[in-house]
């Protein structure tokens, strides 16, 4: 008897707790930024899990930018606040992370790090008309048809087309390896393939799935005799492929896209293959802006920045510069109002942004235009 009643008591208590929980959550739509004392830039990204190295890099870059901006006194004396919520590259956590940020007073954001999460982030921010400037979600559709969406990195298709043109012009025996489990890799590869078809060039393609397998012996073995291997993948796997190619005696040039940045740290003396990649950011560049960023990053985190960190850094600065140019002076401005102002500024034909990833202008769709450089070594 005692137990039965205890059970009922238990359930009743659960009910009371849930009522208390919900009662504290009331309230409809409103401007959550009205209590802000600093401009709030939000973001979500993978800070734990398999993709976390990208998220942590972007986060570090963005934090560095905020630190510099605040050290200079912020915008008209108002400082900036920045926070990235962990989404583990899943859509469910991107949604709850977005909600938490928005209700904490987020006024503008640098979106999400990975393309999938960013799609979720974008669709939620579209409902609230909150501007996002994604540092690294390169899938074309993330900002397509979204007035509030901007991007700082190259879109996947542009890189694929550019690589195809470059490779087709210079090499004959062409191979490619891409990651079927990765949106970035598949996106670049699809564009590459259709451009190659257009150019009438043939090539051999091998795939892998980084989630399940990182042993590249079979793929490299099959492409051993190629002049060039196109690798639209990230630097960690590219580094493994380079080492595998070296140990298999494959002499092909390894040609990559912006994901290659950081590959130098993955290689050892055995790798003698020529490595080329298209990137807006080169860590060894002598350009003063880039050098300043690289030095500051090294001083702050004791490691070299990669392209994700540079994109995160630039995304924050792009927002800051646009806000500065538009003379935003109300710290309690709602996300929607700020979005309209910043969007107008960013899409102005005279607005140019110069950051660690080069000089950028944005078109009406939010796509960036910037000059790619080709980095090569070995």
């Amino acid at each position: 008897m005692k137990k039965t009643m205890a059970r009922i008591l238990c359930v009743a208590l659960a009910l009371v707790m849930s009522v208390a929980l919900l009662a504290s959550c009331g309230g409809g739509a409103k401007n959550y930024a009205e209590n802000n004392t600093e401009y709030f830039i939000g973001a979500t990204g993978p800070l734990t899990g398999d993709a976390s190295s990208y998220g942590i890099s972007v986060n570090n870059g963005a934090k560095l930018a905020i630190k510099e901006i605040n050290a200079k006194g912020g915008l008209n004396g108002v400082l900036f606040k920045y926070e990235m919520k962990d989404d583990q590259a899943t859509v469910a956590l991107a949604a709850s992370g977005y909600d938490a940020l928005y209700e904490a007073g987020m006024q503008i954001s640098i979106g999400s790090v990975t393309s999938g999460s960013c799609e979720q982030f974008a669709s939620k921010s579209e409902e609230n008309n909150l501007l996002f400037m994604t540092p690294s979600a390169s899938t074309a559709s993330v900002i397509e048809n979204r007035a509030n969406g901007f991007r700082i990195c190259f879109g996947d298709p542009d890189q694929g087309v550019l690589s195809a043109q470059k490779i087709a012009a210079e090499y004959n025996k062409i191979g490619a390896i891409y990651d079927t489990s990765d949106a970035y890799s598949s996106g670049v590869y699809d564009a590459f393939k259709s451009e190659m078809d257009k150019l009438g060039k043939t090539f051999t393609v091998k795939t892998f799935d980084k989630e399940n397998n990182k042993d590249f012996s079979a793929q490299v073995e099959a492409l051993k005799d190629c002049d060039v291997i196109f690798l639209p993948i990230y630097y960690t796997e590219a580094g493994l492929i380079a080492k595998m190619a070296a140990s298999k005696g494959c002499k092909a040039v390894l040609f990559g896209c912006d994901g290659f940045d950081g590959i130098a740290g993955q290689l050892d003396a055995t790798v003698t293959n020529k490595i080329m990649y298209i990137t807006p950011f080169d860590v060894n560049s002598t350009d003063p802006t880039v050098k300043a960023f690289v030095d500051a990053y090294k001083a702050e985190y004791n490691s070299l920045p990669d392209q994700f960190a540079a994109d995160g850094y630039d995304a924050v600065y792009a927002i800051y510069n646009a806000m500065k140019a538009a003379n935003v002076d109300n710290v309690k401005i709602s996300a929607s109002d700020l979005c309209d102002i910043v969007r107008a500024k960013l899409t102005e034909s005279t607005f140019k942004f110069k950051g660690a990833t080069g000089e950028v202008t944005w078109n009406e769709k939010g796509e960036p235009t910037k000059v790619p450089q080709i980095v090569e070594f070995n």
Partner: protein
Amino acid sequence: MSTLIEGLSIGSVYALIALGYTMVYGIAKMLNFAHGDIIMVGAYAVLTTMSLCGFPLVAILVAVVVCTLLGIAIEKVAYKPLRGASPLAVLITAIGVSYLLQGIAQLVYGSASRPVTIIDMGNVQIGNSAVRVSSIVTLVVGAILMVILTLFIKMTKTGRAMIAVSEDRGAAELMGINVNGIISITFAIGSALAAAASVCYLFQIPSATPTLGSMPGIKAFTAAVIGGIGSIPGAVIGGVLLGVIENVCKSTPLAPFTTSIEFGLLIVILLVKPTGILGKKRREKV
């Protein structure tokens, strides 16, 4: 030819991991989901020692010692209190241990993948294809370890005690076998094998990440089941089979479906032979 040898060597990595799974399962009757993460710890141990002193042999020894101690510690702290509890509770604790190790690795080493080069051994020419020496070494090391393990279990007193515990724990206890001690030894051996596996893994894939162990762990578990979980030759056969199939699949147009093919094969084998290739038939008692 080289595809086959590479497949065999990745297969022997799986086999080494699967041996750990299968021994722990056979003797402690639990699925040690943290086994894959012990491999990850081994890889980081190699990474750290290599950057400190640079002698491959020292690094390998350190990895073996670290993994063995870790295996014993995990067994004492997380699994021993649960002896006699439901197997599912132990499974969940094992998952907790796995998350814990991954979390610690991420805090200490960061989440970016770190290149680890133990030693570069170059190539040999077999037929008309170049085969990496490291693959052959992996294959040989794997084979030697398996033979030693089999001999250990068949020939030594401890080994026979292990068999006794796996057959009937209660009866073994009555015969004066220290069951807890045997289980600890099993974990120690399993973890030492995991360390060997992590060294072989680094020969194949020279980079370390905090989640490095999870997929090879699941694959090796699959291999252990294919061979018949609890059976040592079964684990070897399962691991090698899986490695070869995986590598062959990767060089065909079916490459994107490699995982499906591997797991599909598992299901087919189990449906035909419900306790795996070399699994013992269990008699059901009423």
